[in-house]
């Protein structure tokens, strides 16, 4: 079988990547914007439209974080509205296994799958922390280490509920239910299962159950290493290597020439790391209000508050939440040596995400290489502008991918499972 590239879009809901201040943007929280985007993706023959999940509005020291976009719908509700406004695109809801009840979630997903004619997907996540749990009945009921055990039992219960009409009962210390399914199967049988989460527990969950992984390993070497790791795990569960599609997250900046693209990418990064965001970034590490500091001035002379970072912004990875004093000491040395302001320091030290930057032909070559060497089966794109980023990809990048024979020239099936070439 020839290599096939699959594309999805991670619709913006939160975070500094999205350039909300650009006057060209349509308001991302409005249904009309989501409908227009989903239709654009169908024009571009995309596999899926994704909604992420964040069950607590991000905060900075007890107040909502003001600098990034915020506000998102309940995913299944919104996707069901989109189901009636579209005909082919897959509709994927990120939904947590900690703060949901299995029978309820399984029933909602099955309803979306049925109404969309077999286009639903469930991106299974396990994000749990007491801070998010404060919004839920289940908040903090079981220990963090057992989140993937709960996830597994949750998924098993959902699969049982989707497999027939018989009552399903589970009574363990992590999952309890007795429920009878009420939703008939869709044309694809059941929703497609996506998994996002990179820890060992996450990879195991993917190897056992996932049809697709939404991965954070985007740079080529990491993507290939991840794909090989996942294929080895699949083999251990007796699943063929082709049973799972691997879709790393991606950002894309196109240009007419390589230099033009690079310049546009640098401009996007500078607009993402605003002076105010640079100060807020330091506030997380300092653990105190730095609003009286000038982002164009020197680093704060005041000492940081002791104690490691809390999860309240929800943006900092676990490993970056520890060792903060050491990190601050290194930043001070760097700022001193290079005479950097707060803003300049943050531009320098904030990790660069791996992104695809180049002419449409160059990015298409790169993506074709990923799929031909089985480092990935496609990408899930996070746009920085709506709808501009996606219009550009559909109009300029998609034809280049088609020319290289790695992308469909029309939908061949109607279900998400068919789009993904899953059996």
């Amino acid at each position: 079988m020839s290599a096939r590239l699959h594309l999805g879009v991670f619709y913006p809901g939160v975070g500094p990547q999205f350039l909300w201040d650009d006057p060209s943007n349509a308001p991302h929280t409005e249904i009309d914007t989501a409908v227009a985007v989903a239709r654009t993706l169908e024009r571009g023959l995309f596999d899926a439209f994704f909604l992420g999940e964040g069950l607590r509005v991000r905060e900075n020291r007890g107040r909502v974080h003001a600098l990034d976009i915020a506000g998102r719908p309940d995913a299944i509700t919104q996707l069901s509205a989109l189901a009636a406004a579209t005909s082919r695109i897959g509709l994927v809801a990120t939904q947590n296994t900690t703060y949901n009840f299995p029978a309820d979630l399984a029933r909602r997903l099955a309803s979306l799958d049925f109404l969309s004619g077999g286009r639903a997907g469930w991106n299974i996540v396990t994000t749990d922390n007491a801070w998010t749990g404060a919004n839920f009945r289940r908040g903090g009921r079981f220990p963090h280490e057992r989140r993937y055990e709960r996830a597994e039992q949750f998924v098993e219960a959902a699969l049982a509920l989707w497999s027939g009409t018989a009552e399903v009962a589970r009574h363990t210390d992590l999952v309890g239910l007795r429920a009878t399914p009420t939703v008939p199967p869709s044309p694809q049988g059941r929703p497609v299962l996506f998994q996002a989460g990179d820890s060992d527990g996450g990879r195991e969950l993917a190897a056992k159950y996932a049809d697709v992984v939404f991965s954070a390993n985007t740079a080529y070497d990491q993507a290939l290493a991840y794909a090989e790791d996942l294929r080895a795990r699949l083999a251990r569960y007796g699943r063929p290597a082709g049973a799972v599609r691997i879709l790393p997250g991606a950002t894309v900046v196109l240009g007419d020439t390589p230099a033009d693209a690079a310049e546009r990418a640098e401009d996007v990064r500078r607009r993402q790391i605003t002076p105010q965001r640079a100060l807020a970034f330091l506030e997380q590490y300092w653990g105190r209000d730095l609003s009286d500091h000038d982002p164009h001035g020197p680093l704060p002379a005041v000492e940081p508050v002791e104690g490691e970072l809390g999860p309240s912004r929800g943006t900092i990875s676990i490993e970056d939440r520890t060792g903060k004093l050491d990190r601050i000491r290194r930043w001070r040395e760097l700022a001193e040596a290079k005479k950097l302001s707060i803003h300049q320091l943050v531009l320098e030290v904030q990790p660069r995400q791996h992104g695809f930057v180049g002419t449409p032909g160059r990015v298409a070559d790169e993506w074709a290489h990923y799929v031909r060497t089985r480092a990935a089966d496609g990408f899930v794109i996070s746009p920085h502008l709506l709808p501009a980023t996606l219009d550009e990809i559909v109009d300029r990048l998609v034809p280049e991918l088609q020319d290289r024979g790695v992308y469909r020239t029309g939908y061949e099936g109607t279900t998400l499972r068919e789009h993904l070439g899953l059996t």
Partner: protein, 330 residues
């Protein structure tokens, strides 16, 4: 109430109409054209007798982008919901429909229902408290973003005004919720809350549904609900049309039931209009009652000037003449 016109809401069959997406879309489009104020989507976590049923909010959301004036009122049960998700789901339905969402509050404390979430039966006192707590926190969550919380101020780099997005800090008998909601304030401020009169004290609905053992009883209960502060009162009426039975309202348990011709029903509704603000019709025979309501009963009411149909683009609140509520936090 001296007005002689009324709002007509109708229950969409839980099973037959929903068992194909296309049938659901067509039925709802016809109901909208006929002039119903809103449609209700019955639901429960336990299966109906016939077997199949789709989840109500998901069904309502599916038709939200296919309609432009019809109110959409899914049923959601308080005892098996995460109140935070429930608030987000209904707010999202309101956003998707540009302000036409309502919530029919169900409060089921039975062992069978609670078992679906691994819980056990709630006694009447606990059920009352749970209903009051869930409805209260859902309202607070809808209010947790001020209408003007999104400021997009490029000078300060602020997308949100952090003083306009609020923790709700709710503590109930069986759960607590910190807030704010993840979803911005819905277009209607708060979706319309609909509940039967036995839940009215706990749920404080915008629309109270009253049953009764006969027409006089319905009027008495409507007056009582109004005296207790209900903004709008609708009579529940089960309808069996076109049979050979003589026309007339028949009490059936606690709910009024009409059997007979379409013309007779239109006449009965005209009479009811003097005692209630609207009626919620439940076609008794799946799949057959609604077409008669659409083709015969509503045109008859329209002809008499008795029907209050919604205008294109209107929110459900404005169709019902309800004001848009101020936020508790404003």
């Amino acid at each position: 109430m001296t007005s002689r016109s009324l709002h007509v809401a109708v229950e969409l069959d839980a099973t037959a109409d929903s068992l194909s997406p296309r049938a659901l879309a067509e039925t709802v489009a016809r109901a909208e054209t006929a002039g119903f104020t809103f449609v209700t989507f019955p639901d429960s976590p336990v299966p109906p007798r016939g077997g199949s049923r789709l989840e109500a909010t998901t069904r309502a959301a599916y038709v939200s982008t296919l309609t432009d004036r019809l109110g959409l009122a899914p049923t959601a049960n308080v005892t098996t919901a995460e109140p935070f998700h429930l608030a987000a789901q209904l707010a999202s339905l309101d956003h998707a429909s540009h302000g036409r969402a309502a919530w029919v509050v169900a409060a089921d404390g039975s062992a069978e229902t609670l078992a679906t979430i691994g819980g056990s039966r709630l006694d009447p006192a606990a059920l009352h408290r749970e209903t009051a707590d869930v409805v209260e926190v859902v309202r607070r969550l809808w209010d947790s973003w001020d209408d003007d919380a999104v400021v997009k101020d490029t000078a300060t780099g602020r997308y949100l005004d952090p003083d306009k997005v609020h923790h709700v800090d709710f503590t109930g008998a069986r759960f607590s919720v910190k807030g704010p909601l993840i979803t911005p304030r819905p277009p209607q401020g708060r979706p319309v809350v609909v509940a039967a009169d036995d839940l009215a004290e706990a749920a404080r609905p915008d629309v109270v549904l009253v049953g009764g053992t006969g027409l006089d009883d319905v009027r008495t209960r409507a007056a009582r609900a109004r005296a207790a502060g209900a903004p709008l009162v609708f009579a529940e009426l089960e309808v069996l049309l076109g049979g050979s039975a003589p026309d007339g309202p028949w009490p059936r348990g606690d709910r009024l039931r009409y059997t007979g011709s379409a013309a007779g029903l239109a006449e009965l509704l005209g009479w009811l209009a003097t005692g209630v603000d609207g009626v919620h019709l439940r076609p008794g025979v799946p799949g057959t009652g609604l077409p008669v309501l659409i083709d015969e009963v509503l045109p008859a009411l329209r002809g008499e000037g008795l029907l209050l149909p919604p205008e294109p683009g209107a929110t459900l609140r404005s169709s019902l003449g309800l004001r848009r509520p101020e936020s508790l936090f404003a």
